[in-house]
Symmetry: D2
Subunit: 356 residues, 4 copies
């Protein structure tokens, strides 16, 4: 399996011409734009085969290809080797995720009312949030549980975005809702229960909107990255990976935050990594230390349940923190991240840290 | 949360009248037919509340209600308490799952060609299979892996069913395919990765066809039963639960077959329980002992990957057994099950086993 | 790593002479008697090296060696390849575990009093038990919980054995108790929490008594087999492996019985495999189906908590079954096992089952 | 279950007198010194019972008791409620763990030679380590694997401590070695495989030396805290808890670091919490981000495998980092921790963070 990075100035026409040549030779190809790079993968091409060598030589003569990587196991379009650098995902004029910034996503677990949503949205914006989270459609274990207020929730999210200027992150649980959600959301969220719902991933990718892909709580890190590859292979390179805890033994926390998955995903993939400590632990008293841990481990942002109304929330209220606790968390973590910015004598240290 | 079992002779009109009364009082209700019982649940009704007591009294006067259970945690429509007995699911004139029979479901992991499918279908029918499994649409971890031959596969399954008389069990991975799959399949399968894809569950339920619901590999037993409840609450009582292994530590087997889930599900739910040892262990040499264990633990059937062509299968070939191994497994297990049929002095023993 | 099976008629003197030759060449060797075989392993010897080839040739000339296996990953002395057949472990004149028999081990979780122990011992003997279980020393999660009645419990076990003729299986938790336990126990049990307490394994092995080694609930199958190898390498080949459930997600059962580990261990190792369904599930209502599943999966026996006094037991009372439920389980399972005995036309079937 | 904190100036004689009163009433009691507090627990005493109320009243009259807590589930002597503040553990004149300091423990996985140990010890001391780790006795999965150089290793550790002034942390795997290890070690380590080897815990506690207790990889957080309680109940309050990863699904990392366990243990217990990222992930490239995450989550220190000789280490070489990578990690993390020190306007923030 081969993945090629094209020169930034290769035009769409030239890309199409390349793809056509490949297609006529019977090869499938998939491409996407990731950050400032255009990537193409040929899943059926073995670099070591005679045909592979010939084709690679042909690619070289076109002058369109900046680099070629022979991807063995890792999903090719999402691999760090393909881009050679972490990619940033532009969400709105005001907000780009990745690329050295740390992104705060905050809001209620579920959208319940105009007063609730606007109250929280204003409160978190004032305290440093970059994006507003809030579920209009909620996937619930029981069919009888509160499932979100649906399209009314989308309207409230649109109004809150207009009022506060915050971009919106909201979940889509049904292909039938993708269009409606995409009209409102700046980032479409795929929840943990749909992490391997490949039909939904495909539909969501086609909107061209940024997608936040939660890791399934029974999924390995490779399965999570392969899930993201479904989005990339459908042409959508604006993918945010989101670690939200896995199922392990013990019930002291709701799930087990797999903190190792953060640096691991950063080493394997160019995609930004977000951590959701709220759903991982299910306890408001552990959210702040886990958010700080995520930042220290190299995450590009965190997504936190914030609620102004205490434990009366209709969904997962016991894990939300107050706006003021959120503000304190932002100040403390930003100070910590600032202390980690590389300073002069640390060039050596960075090399040492990377080395063994 | 209350679930009521209606008298078998209550007519649809009477049911509607009851439902309407409930609706006018502002209560949601959900009903389904499970085996020979019609069940109705009122998720918002607390039996101990004044309103609940009044309504229960009203129900009593209608004469339509056979029994009422106050379901606390267990999903009400699927609970064993609701029916008072295990329910059987009629799949075709020749095949009913549950109700004391043991059902053998066998066939290739993926449908690949007419020759392959028909060969295996004939071979397993001759050796005792009741239903033919085979995937036309395959959910694969990687977007570049073989995803099944799609609608061509459905045509082959239809032909194999016509030729052999076997009913077909095949997976549906996309709401957009439900209609096409339902035209061919006697049982629609929801795979482990879609076990909590509630939008798909809803669409599949509406076909009225029997549904085999695999347990998600990261899901608890209650989550699996709640998933089935989505099907039942949509009015489809023909649900087969399928245990297929969960994610646990260790890599000696692909997943860890949770054998305890079989008797546990049988105690909590009236729905038949099928076990898929092939996908649970991922190794052909463990399929026979695990199938026997499932039967001994009280499963209503097993679903086994059988392939005639050795390890060249395009999907999961290493876990399929040969038709002859399948035949030996059927003979040996059926003999074992026959030995377990209650004989005269065992009436006491059964009581003892149930006791303590 | 090489393991050799010696001819049954090789005398101890000849063995010593071989070992001495090996030692003078600087090689470590470990040997044990397993069933009717004497096995020797040379962990530092690579079969493919020049030295290895030369030494293997030398072995061949001695005439003492029946077969040689180059063990790569599997623990050599415990591997099925070493003996070429399952080994049986003789526990007493009346009881041999493995070798085609199915062994019932039953008794209270903890020894509490003479009346309790003798009552249960007599009751389970009458109903088919071959060995009596009962903990005198109990490893408990909390230091303040009931830890067993200690040496008084050993005295009661000795009396119960004398009275009923049943052999005793009891746990040892401390190297300081090994001598006292070995005076009473026919089988010394290593509990799950000490499964990798290698110092204790060594002391227990030196008694020469049969050892029942529970799998640690966080241990993989290979780690369990390596634990057994500590016993074998210390010269004690009388090892019973015991699967008792692993830690996985979900809390419907106390642990998750890893039923696949039974046929897997039987394929990798010659040692008998026992299953403890009581501690695996922690619920008396699941013990019978899980015991039957263990038998069907190929286990050589089960160990069951049986208690006559209901839920007042000082330790794990909620998982014990009554003597009558035990009796029903024995009758039903023995009938099932009898049905599985190979009959004439099944020679082919057995080959088929093994095949693919 | 009740736990009482005594006034700091209560003399041993007075304590003994109290204990004697309790004993004569038939109550067990256990006490230990934790940081600057003396704690006593009465596991058999129910605060709500008449006897409990009477006894509490009696306690009140003695004037010796500073506070009394009714501990329900949490292990009493280790509970944060008992001391009301985190406790610090004094290891040597130069090193106290906990109490606001961050402790760096570094060194080779296994002690191999004088040159190796001294080289690493000097290198890590120069770069900021407070304690030297190194295994003389190694518990290994296979009986044939390198088990450490034993007592020779203790001699080398003693020499390295004398030469560098660093205190020594080293594992004890056998009660028979406790005395020899205690002569050399400033901190005795209980490894994950012996985390519930209660006999060993008892012997180690009796030395009076600080003990680092690793969490068993199959153990829950409560089981880990109950294990520590065995040490405390034996009179040794100098306990360091060590999180080192649990068994979960997936094999991208060797174990799954349970980062949530760090803030959770800090909320439940007064004992310092150390994290071992090296054994948790088993990969040198993830050690630095996980160590930083541990510090950010509130750990009191980390223990890191550092090796100067590359991948030729006899044990777990692939997870060790170089001395220079260790130095960079220390500088970067200490800068980060410094940024987290509470500054003036953060008093409010701290309250907010603690709040909901």
């Amino acid at each position: 399996m081969i993945v090629a990075r094209l020169h930034p100035d290769v035009l769409i026409d030239e890309q199409s011409r390349l793809t056509e040549v490949w297609r006529q030779r019977g090869h499938r190809s998939f491409h996407c734009r990731a950050g400032r790079h255009t990537l193409v993968t040929f899943p059926d091409l073995a670099a070591a085969s005679p045909q592979g060598r010939e084709f690679l030589a042909l690619l070289g003569t076109t002058g369109a290809v900046e680099s070629v990587v022979d991807s063995t196991d890792a999903p090719p379009l999402g691999s760090l080797a393909a881009t050679g650098e972490p990619s940033a995902v532009r969400v709105s004029d005001d907000c780009t995720v990745g690329g050295g910034r740390f992104t705060w996503i905050a809001g209620p677990c579920a959208v319940e009312s105009e007063a609730q949503l606007l109250g929280v949205a204003r409160a978190v914006r004032e305290r440093g949030a970059h994006l507003l989270r809030g579920g209009a459609f909620k996937p619930r274990t029981s069919p009888y549980a509160f499932q979100g207020i649906g399209k009314d929730g989308l309207d409230l999210l649109r109004a809150a975005a207009a009022e506060t200027g915050l971009g919106v992150v909201t979940e889509v649980v049904d292909a039938a809702h993708v269009e409606a959600v995409a009209e409102v959301a700046h980032v479409l969220q795929i929840g943990a229960r749909n992490a391997q719902n490949f039909a939904l991933l495909h539909e969501v990718a086609l909107t061209g909107r940024p997608v936040l892909l939660k890791r399934g709580f029974g999924c390995t890190v490779p399965e999570w990255l392969h899930g993201a590859e479904y989005l990339l292979a459908a042409g959508n390179g604006k993918v945010l990976l989101c670690e939200r805890g896995v199922r392990a033994h013990g019930d002291s926390t709701r799930f087990t935050l797999d903190i190792s998955a953060v640096p691991l995903a950063k080493r394997l993939s160019h995609l930004p990594v977000i951590v959701d400590p709220s759903h991982a632990c299910g306890r408001s008293d552990l959210v702040a230390p886990l958010a700080a841990a995520a930042a220290a481990a190299g995450a590009d942002g965190v997504m936190v349940d914030v609620d102004g109304q205490g434990h009366a929330a209709l969904c997962d209220g016991e894990q939300a923190i107050t706006p003021d606790a959120f503000g304190a968390l932002v100040r403390r973590t930003d100070r910590m991240l600032h202390s980690l910015d590389p300073v002069e004598p640390e060039a050596d240290a960075a090399r040492e840290l990377a080395g063994r």
